[in-house]
Each structure stands twice: as structure tokens, then as C-alpha cells.
């Protein structure tokens, strides 16, 4: 937010100032009469900046309460009950959590406060609501003063400030938490220096009576003033054992919070307004209805920012896409050029093929396809060579039936598990001289199978003279040789080596 409209409401005056670029414009004062209200209405029509209303009124009440720790809807209902109990007659009320107790039931310590004379505010508020002014909040001088004591290392601090149109504001902070505040009018025949001496002591006694200031504890009084008033105060204020005075130079304080204004006297109104403009607290007296148009104003700003962000993101992404696309196009051009060169070279090679019996592609197709088909039908001498040599080494084996099938002889579905270059051989035969003993005979067959495997046949025994596997059955007459031949069947798979 660049410009802000800051309104200051006290018992004696209502003024408006524009805050821009870290400084406050000249104040415009509106008397509390019909003319003043019309002038205020006209003023509001000249600006659409958000409005912050700062009140500095005697009729502001503070209550420190300890309540049961609750959350969500239950907490909201609890607070509402407290509002109805303490501040039924004003809509300008707030509840702030101080801290959660660390012992016992872990209750919450809360500060309830309210503007107890709502009519003072409502008059001006009605004008703002009528004109749909974006009111950001209704604040109070004590409520926004906390940043002024942040750097003070003391548990019990009484901050004194003077607002010309309001009076002497005394705000008590306990461990940096606002506890109470009071406003004392300063008469026209008085200076605020005159009032401080008595009022500070009164406040100290009041705090003691509320047991907020422990026995023996020193109350540090920090006074916002200029150099001249400081000299006067230093001569008037006497430090006692339990009260000490410190002086906060108003000009330095202003510089510390970033104010560009010059403070000619100790009037802290401008200081507080600058503080409100730069560090508005979250909690204030306005309710949802009061700040409705501010929420709309803020939503509109956010929508505008969102649209800027959206447009920027879309443009950036689009540029990225365009850049990537251009890179791809550049790369594509190079690839096309390379491919062209290769294709030209290929064409030259093909055209340079000598005159043939047929086009080179046809000759290649015929030769390569026949070479492949030839591999599916190897000649029998190749397939049987190993088998024949092995049979010669095992003369007790008599082959009764031999069949083999090449890859070309198998339909595609029969080739599952076999390479088309594999030949499958089935041999059925007999083992003679079984009465040599079944164990010796089985060993003989076993050695035959091993010999075939060494000659690169894969061997599967389909049937043996004696099935000694766990899934087979054995009859005792099979164990007797009687010179009868024992039958066997083997399946061999032979494959061409590349």
C-alpha cells in the first residue's frame, strides 16, 4: 500500500492526514458538527486509499482475565460470552491472548478491551460506511504503542506520551504485554510536563493496588518528549527507590521507526500515526462489517497482482517454449542436412553397382532368404554324424526306429520352445544283454546319453527299461533279465552351430 489515510479521533478533535513516502501531510481537522461531517465526506471522495482510524479516548476500558484454554468455535463462543458480560453496549471490542499459563490447568491469560463510548466513533464510521470507504481497522493509541517499548529491557514499563488533541497517555506494559492504559486530559493552562509528575505516581500506586507491580519492584517510566521538555522534566521529576524515569527523544524515536517528519514539540500524535501506517497490529476494534470494503479493496489489489504474476508467468513460459522450439528447429535443420548427405552417398553407392543379372536388391533378397531357409533344413549327414559315431561306441544298443524332423518340417505352432534351425531326433531301441544286471545296464544307457551330450545333442529320455524316478512304478519282473531286450526311447535335439 503506497498511500494511506490516517484518521485521529480524540475527545477534542477529529483529523485526517495522508501518509505517503514515509511522511505525513498536513492535518485536516473536521469539527464534530454537520458541516464538519460534510467536509469529511467530501474529503473521503477525493481518495480511494485505505483508511486507518486511530482513537485516543478516555473511554477505553481494559480487563485482564484468565480463561479456560479453548479452541475454534468454543473459543469464539467463550469470547462472545465475555463481550456480552463486559461490553454489551459497544460493537468496538477486542480480545487478545497474552499468554498460556505454564502451570496448573494451563489456562489462557487474555486482555479484553473496548471503546465504551461507541457514539464518538459511530458518527464518523457511518460516513465511511456510507461511502464504502476501505476502512482497514479501528485502532487505539495504547494498542499500537508496543513497538516503542520493544527495545526496553525491563519487565515493568510505564510509557508516557502526549497527544495534543487528547491528553497525557499512560500505558503500562508487563513483560512487553499491554495491561492497561489511561488518558488524562491536559488543560489549556497546563503543560504536559506539569501533569506528568503527579499522574505517574498515581498510576504507580494504582498498579500496586492491582498487584500488578510486585513489592520492591521498580517501575520504569519512559517519557516521549523533545529536548526542551526533557530538560524541564528532569528538573521536576525526582527519582525514588521504586520509580525511575527515562526519556525517549521524539525525533530520534521517529527516525528509528522510519518517519521522515520533523517533530517541533513533544506531541506524539504524528509518531503514533506513523507507527500505525507502518506497523498496524492484527487485532483492532473494527468487526467484519466495518472492514468489508477494505477486504474488497485488498482482494482487488491481490487480483491485480495475481493477474500481473499470471501474465508474467505465461509470457516467461511462452518465451521458454519459443526458445526451446527454435533450438529444436535449428537442430532439425542440421539433422536434415546430415541425412541428405548420407542419402546422397547411399544413392551413389547403389548407382555404382555394376550391371547385374538382376537388380542388386533382388539378388540380395533371393540370396539372403535362401541362406536363411537353408538353415532350417540341415542335411542328414550333419544331423546324424554325432549320433552315428556314438552308436558305434555302444554296440549293445539296437535302434529299431529313428525319425527326425527339421525346422522346415515343423509348423510355426510346433516350434514353440525350438529354434527353427534345430532338428529333433527320436530313437526307439533296445538294450541287449539286460541280464548283465539292471544296475550295469542302466549305467550303460546313462553313459550313452552322456556321450551324446558331449557331441552337442540335448538328450531327453522318454522311456527307459526301468523307470527309477519317483513318479514311476516298478514291477519285479522287470528286474529279471532272462536275456530279454530292454526297450528305451530318447529324444535328441541338434542345433546348427553358427
Amino acid at each position: 500500500m503506497k498511500n494511506r489515510v490516517l484518521l485521529f479521533l480524540s475527545a477534542n478533535q477529529f483529523q485526517a492526514r495522508i501518509w505517503r513516502d514515509g511522511g505525513l501531510d498536513r492535518a485536516q481537522t473536521f469539527p464534530d458538527n454537520q458541516e464538519g461531517r460534510e467536509q469529511f465526506g467530501a474529503f473521503l471522495r477525493t481518495t480511494r486509499s485505505p483508511v486507518f482510524l486511530l482513537t485516543d479516548l478516555i473511554e477505553e476500558d481494559f480487563r485482564h482475565e484468565t480463561v479456560l484454554h479453548l479452541r475454534g468455535r468454543e473459543r469464539a463462543e467463550q469470547v462472545q460470552r465475555k463481550f456480552e458480560q463486559f461490553y454489551r453496549n459497544t460493537p468496538f471490542r477486542q480480545a487478545a491472548l497474552h499468554q498460556r499459563q505454564s502451570e496448573g490447568r494451563h489456562d489462557d491469560e487474555m486482555l479484553f478491551s473496548a471503546l465504551t463510548n461507541p457514539a464518538l466513533v459511530q458518527t464518523w464510521l457511518d460516513i465511511m460506511l456510507q461511502q464504502h470507504v476501505p476502512l482497514a481497522g479501528i485502532y487505539s493509541a495504547p494498542g499500537i504503542s508496543k513497538p516503542l517499548v520493544e527495545h526496553i529491557h525491563a519487565d515493568h514499563v510505564l510509557l508516557l506520551s502526549w497527544e495534543k488533541g487528547a491528553g497525557l497517555r499512560q500505558t503500562y506494559f508487563n513483560e512487553k504485554r499491554l495491561y492497561l492504559s489511561r488518558l488524562t486530559p491536559v488543560g489549556e493552562d497546563q503543560s504536559f510536563c506539569d501533569v506528568i509528575a503527579t499522574e505517574a505516581v498515581r498510576t504507580q500506586q494504582y498498579l500496586k493496588s492491582l498487584s500488578l507491580l510486585p513489592l520492591g519492584q521498580t517501575l520504569q517510566v519512559h517519557i516521549i518528549c523533545n529536548v526542551e521538555d526533557r530538560r524541564e522534566l528532569q528538573s521536576k521529576l525526582l527519582e525514588a527507590g521504586d520509580i525511575s524515569y527515562a526519556y525517549l527523544d521524539i525525533q530520534k524515536l521517529g527516525e528509528e521507526i522510519g518517519s521522515k517528519d520533523v517533530y517541533p514539540d513533544s506531541d506524539a500524535t504524528g509518531l503514533l500515526l506513523h507507527l500505525l501506517a507502518t506497523k498496524p497490529p492484527a487485532s483492532h476494534y473494527a468487526n467484519a462489517e466495518h472492514i468489508h470494503y477494505f477486504n474488497l479493496w485488498r482482494s482487488n489489489k491481490r487480483l491485480l497482482w495475481l493477474s500481473v504474476a499470471t501474465a508474467t508467468a505465461a509470457i516467461m513460459l511462452s518465451l521458454l517454449n519459443l526458445w526451446q522450439g527454435s533450438s529444436f528447429n535449428n537442430e532439425r535443420t542440421k539433422l536434415d542436412h546430415q541425412a541428405q548427405k548420407l542419402t546422397q552417398r547411399t544413392r551413389e553407392i547403389i548407382q555404382a553397382f555394376p550391371a547385374q543379372l538382376a537388380p542388386a536388391a533382388d539378388m540380395k533378397s533371393v540370396v539372403t532368404s535362401l541362406r536363411k531357409l537353408d538353415s532350417f533344413s540341415p542335411p542328414p549327414e550333419e544331423v546324424w554324424a554325432g549320433l552315428g559315431a556314438t552308436l558305434q561306441e555302444f554296440p549293445r544298443l539296437r535302434i529299431d526306429h529313428l525319425s527326425w524332423q527339421t525346422g522346415s518340417g515343423r509348423a510355426a505352432k510346433q516350434n514353440a520352445g525350438f529354434s527353427p534351425t534345430a532338428s529333433v531326433i527320436r530313437i526307439n531301441g533296445q538294450l541287449e544283454d539286460w541280464d548283465d544286471g539292471y544296475r550295469n545296464s542302466l549305467n550303460y544307457l546313462d553313459r550313452f546319453q552322456q556321450a551324446l551330450q558331449q557331441r552337442h545333442y540335448r538328450v531327453v529320455a522318454s522311456k527307459l527299461p526301468l523307470d527309477i524316478s519317483s513318479s514311476g512304478s516298478i514291477a519285479d519282473n522287470a528286474l529279471e533279465g532272462d536275456g530279454n531286450p530292454a526297450n528305451f526311447s530318447l529324444r535328441l535335439i541338434w542345433e546348427q552351430t553358427p
Partner: protein
């Protein structure tokens, strides 16, 4: 409704700006994305084209190196009448010459009509269709060596290309009636296969 209309009045510029940003930004994005997609596709196509060109060059270079072999083998296949229309008289003549050489004790054959041939695994035959005329052979043999020699002679001395699918050989008991006089056959064999020819699809 009135309150809503009033509220909308205060955020109308923000909403409008957002709609514009979404609309115009979205349009830019769509157009640029479309440009990127086409460029990417074209790039991918160019990569594919380059790979194909590289492959074609590699193939052409390999063919250049192998062309002498291809020419020689093709000439041999032409000479054996494997390419073009099948020459059945060549097969019959060849088989009869084999019969006269008495490689086996006796044999018979049956040649079936020509059919298109589907090999057990796909073969790229280019412009040529594969055809086969199945032929079964029955033999009476003294020993398996005769069968081996028969098919060796069939390959080397008979014009054509015979693909042997397999045989079944059985030991005979000598009480069975025999086809040939003189020597007693010990084995009977049944063999299947076919005569393969390649026909150019573009030939008249």
C-alpha cells in the same frame, strides 16, 4: 443479489485483469506450446530420418562389399531353375538318374501341387514370393548311409532346391514282402520335404 453486485463493482477491475491475463496468457502459452510440440515432432522425425539414412548407408556399404558373392550365388540359383517357374521335368529327370545309380535299393516319390510356402520363421524375400511343391519319398535301404548319400546326390546333381523336412526310418523284420529283388532291405524310410522356387512378383 444487490450486495453481491455492489461487491463485484469493487473488484471488477481485478477480475477483469485476471481474466485478461488468463485469456491472453493462456493463448500465448497454447500457441507457444503448439510451436514447441511441432518443432519437437519435426526434430524427432529428423532424428528418425537420420538414423534411417545411416542404416541405409551401412546396408548399402555392406551390400557393396557382398555384391560379388550375391551375384555369384544368384547366377547359380538361376542356373538351377530355383528362380522363376518351377521346372518339374528337371526334378523327374534328376530322380530317374539317381534311380539308375542304385544308391538305394529302391525308392518311390509323389510330388504334390505347388502351394505358397510359409517358413517356420519370417523371411524377407523382397519382390519374390516363395512357393513349394511337396514331395514325399519312400525308400528301401540296407543301411542309413544309403539315405545320407541319396540326399547328398539330390542336392548336388539334380537341378532345383529340395528342402528336406525329415525322415522316419524303421528296421524291417525280414518276413515282410519286399519290393526289390536281390539284396534284402534292412530298413524302410519315409521322408517328406518340398521343391522350393522363388517367383518375382513383378515378372510378367
Amino acid at each position: 443479489m444487490n450486495k453481491l453486485a455492489t461487491d463485484l463493482h469493487y473488484i471488477k477491475w481485478g477480475l477483469l485483469a485476471l481474466l485478461l491475463a488468463l485469456g491472453i496468457g493462456g493463448a500465448f502459452l497454447l500457441l507457444s506450446q503448439s510451436f514447441l510440440d511441432s518443432a519437437q515432432q519435426a526434430h524427432h522425425a529428423a532424428e528418425t530420418g537420420l538414423r534411417k539414412a545411416q542404416h541405409d548407408l551401412s546396408t548399402a556399404t555392406s551390400d557393396q562389399q557382398n555384391m560379388a558373392d550375391y551375384t555369384q550365388e544368384y547366377a547359380m540359383l538361376l542356373n538351377r531353375n530355383v528362380i522363376g517357374k518351377e521346372q518339374r521335368l528337371d526334378w523327374i529327370d534328376g530322380l530317374e538318374r539317381l534311380r539308375q545309380r542304385n544308391i538305394v535299393l529302391g525308392f518311390k516319390y509323389v510330388i504334390s501341387p505347388q502351394q505358397p510356402y510359409q517358413p517356420p520363421e519370417a523371411v524377407d524375400s523382397g519382390n519374390f514370393s516363395l512357393n513349394r511343391s511337396d514331395m514325399t519319398l519312400s525308400f528301401e535301404l540296407l543301411h542309413t548311409g544309403q539315405l545320407v548319400r541319396f540326399f547328398k546326390e539330390l542336392r548336388t546333381r539334380v537341378k532345383g532346391w529340395y528342402m528336406l523336412d525329415g525322415c522316419s526310418i524303421e528296421r524291417l523284420d525280414n518276413t515282410e514282402p519286399r519290393a526289390s529283388a536281390g539284396l534284402t532291405p534292412q530298413l524302410r524310410a519315409e521322408c517328406t520335404g518340398g521343391w522350393l522356387t522363388l517367383q518375382n512378383r513383378n515378372a510378367p
